[in-house]
């Protein structure tokens, strides 16, 4: 058993992959609590897909250099986040329709750009589904710096984000800069997407934002606990997923996401059994109130 756990750790790529998976998991899951509570899952998915043209340009310009791809992706993600935010505010088109238009359009542009390169299919797969075992030390540093910035922002604006998410009207009457806070949240999501580009890829990104947070949402009643639990679920999924990937030869991003999904399903199953008993007690208490 010990050997089974230790054997993969002798490989440098596995250690770096584990570090990346855990870090990205913690950052995305913590931020993901707001994505879940504010019903922004579709937005997150769309935003992840819409940075493909930036990734493609970075890839073409830099001749495949990771750093160039990262910065181009970051730039596109922020522009897309602000763009989607602006469109959905200022036209009579409903938000999800606006997101759909921007999302599909930019994604198609990205595919078109990448298809001009010879090794098109392999590279596209890479961006769409990630390659956590190919993470280099320089990639890890970018994950640590930008992931750290996201966590710092969540902690620094904790009470402001809480009020804006729970009761936007209160936030307005308290004179909080609600628009600025909403945009900041969009930008944080954009940065999180770029940070996890290498781990799970654009197509599966939304699972990192939503699934661990939703799992925690099932069992907690307070936001800080939900954040901590979501981060734990994501970190554990990252580790289990990579081991599954190592031993079963499954694609790493898919293995991580499938582990998250399995943990969610398990929690949901246990909760729905527990709820039957709790519900009975609750009705009794409300009646006596």
């Amino acid at each position: 058993m010990i050997d089974w756990i230790l054997a993969p750790l002798q490989y440098g790529f596995m250690l770096r992959g584990l570090a990346a998976a855990v870090l990205v998991g913690v950052v995305c899951a913590t931020l993901g609590t707001y994505v879940v509570l504010r019903g922004m899952a579709f937005f997150g998915d769309a935003l992840a897909h819409s940075i493909l043209p930036g990734v493609a340009i970075g890839y073409l310009v830099g001749g495949g250099a990771r750093g160039t791809v990262f910065w181009w992706a970051l730039l596109t993600a922020i522009i897309s986040a602000l763009g989607i935010g602006a469109i959905s505010r200022s036209t009579k088109i409903k938000e999800d329709t606006a997101i759909g238009i921007v999302f599909a359009g930019t994604f198609a542009l990205g595919v078109a750009l990448i298809s001009t390169v010879g090794s098109y299919t392999a590279d596209l797969t890479h961006f769409l589904f990630g390659d956590v075992l190919g993470v280099r030390t320089s990639d890890l540093w970018l994950i640590i710096i930008f992931g750290g910035l996201i966590i710092l922002a969540i902690l620094a604006f904790y009470k402001e984000f809480l009020v804006v998410s729970f009761d936007p009207i209160l936030a307005t009457t308290l004179r909080l800069p609600t628009r600025l806070l909403d945009f900041l949240l969009l930008i944080l999501i954009a940065v999180a997407i770029v940070v996890s580009l290498q781990t799970v890829g654009l197509a599966l990104m939304v699972a990192m934002l939503v699934t661990p947070a939703a799992t925690a949402y099932l069992v907690t009643r307070r936001l800080p606990v939900m954040m901590a639990l979501a981060a734990t679920v994501a970190a554990v999924s990252g580790v289990i997923g990579l081991y599954l990937s190592f031993y079963l030869g499954i694609a790493s991003g898919a293995a991580i996401v499938l582990t998250c999904t399995a943990l969610f399903a398990l929690t949901w199953f246990v909760q729905s059994i527990r709820r039957r008993f709790i519900l009975r007690n609750q009705t009794a208490r409300l009646r006596s109130d």
Partner: protein, 282 residues
């Protein structure tokens, strides 16, 4: 206003963006219009309120009650006209509290009662500051005022309707609000819970808090409020309850959708299809 005075004496962090103008009414609404694409929600609304008044805002569904509250709270900009709080535009004041309709709140949000009441303090906390022991004391105190001191750690989804409403009133207290806007706080509550809310409103009146309460029950408006505003996109009437709730005015506001019943106490109006959860949507 013992509670508020107590807050002020010790609180050096209160941010008064504008000083209160002496002698100005707490609320002044002048020539207010709100137009949507589908038509006007509010037409030429003008009225003033003295501090400490308890005003019932009544009118049929879609009369613009929620819209009026949102404009006064500064959440929605009017198409035309002005709202003044103590002589200033509402932007500078954080002394207005808006108590939302219960149906508009996400009761599964992972917060407990004390967390929600603490949100009222956040306007007084600077950036990067966490609530201090004194803020938690104020929260506890506000919860005791509404009789919910023992429920501070309860998850909000587990509260009864009356408790949910009282929690938001506690939040308005923690916010040190001087003008509280309540959007249908009595809807869906049983008689006992409604009485509980009225006891708290009486208490707030003694503390000098001004209240606007949107509601459907005309008899309750007549019996329990100082002033009544009868709204149907425009002001049909405003003033003392018996003057406002005349059968002529009620026919004016509700048209055929109202049955008037003569009782010993006067005219009792029953609104058809009353007390729906939702209000007009913008």
């Amino acid at each position: 206003m013992a509670l508020l005075d107590e807050f002020r004496k010790t609180d050096h962090l209160i941010r008064h963006h504008h000083p209160h103008e002496q002698g100005a009414p707490i609320l002044g609404v002048t020539d207010l219009w709100v137009r949507y694409e589908s038509g006007a929600a509010l037409e030429d609304i003008s009225f003033e309120l003295e501090p400490g008044v308890r005003l019932a805002v009544v009118g049929p569904n879609g009369a613009g009650k929620s819209t009026l509250f949102k404009v006064i709270a500064g959440v929605m900009a009017p198409t035309e006209g002005k709202v003044h709080v103590y002589g200033h535009e509402p932007g500078g004041h954080i002394c207005i509290a808006y108590v939302p309709q219960r149906s508009q709140v996400d009761w599964n949000f992972p917060v407990n009662v004390a967390d929600v009441v603490m949100m009222g303090r956040i306007g007084k906390l600077r950036l990067f500051r966490h609530p201090r022991a004194r803020d938690w004391e104020i929260v506890e105190h506000a919860l005791e005022v509404v009789g919910m001191g023992h429920l501070s750690k309860r998850q909000i989804g587990e509260l009864s309707g009356g408790q949910q409403q009282r929690m938001f009133i506690a939040r308005a207290l923690a916010q040190e609000a001087e003008l509280i806007l309540m959007d249908e706080p009595l809807t869906g509550l049983d008689i006992n819970s409604q009485e509980g809310i009225f006891r708290i409103l009486d208490d707030l009146n003694e503390r000098g808090v001004t209240m606007l309460v949107a509601m459907h029950d005309l008899q309750m408006a007549a019996e329990r409020f100082d002033r009544v505003l009868l709204l149907n996109n425009r002001i049909v009437a405003i003033g003392l309850p018996p003057d406002v709730l005349s059968s002529q005015n009620l026919m004016d506001a509700y048209g055929g959708h109202l049955s008037l019943v003569q009782t010993d106490d006067g005219v009792l109006a029953l609104e058809d299809g009353c007390c729906g959860e939702g209000e007009e949507s913008p």
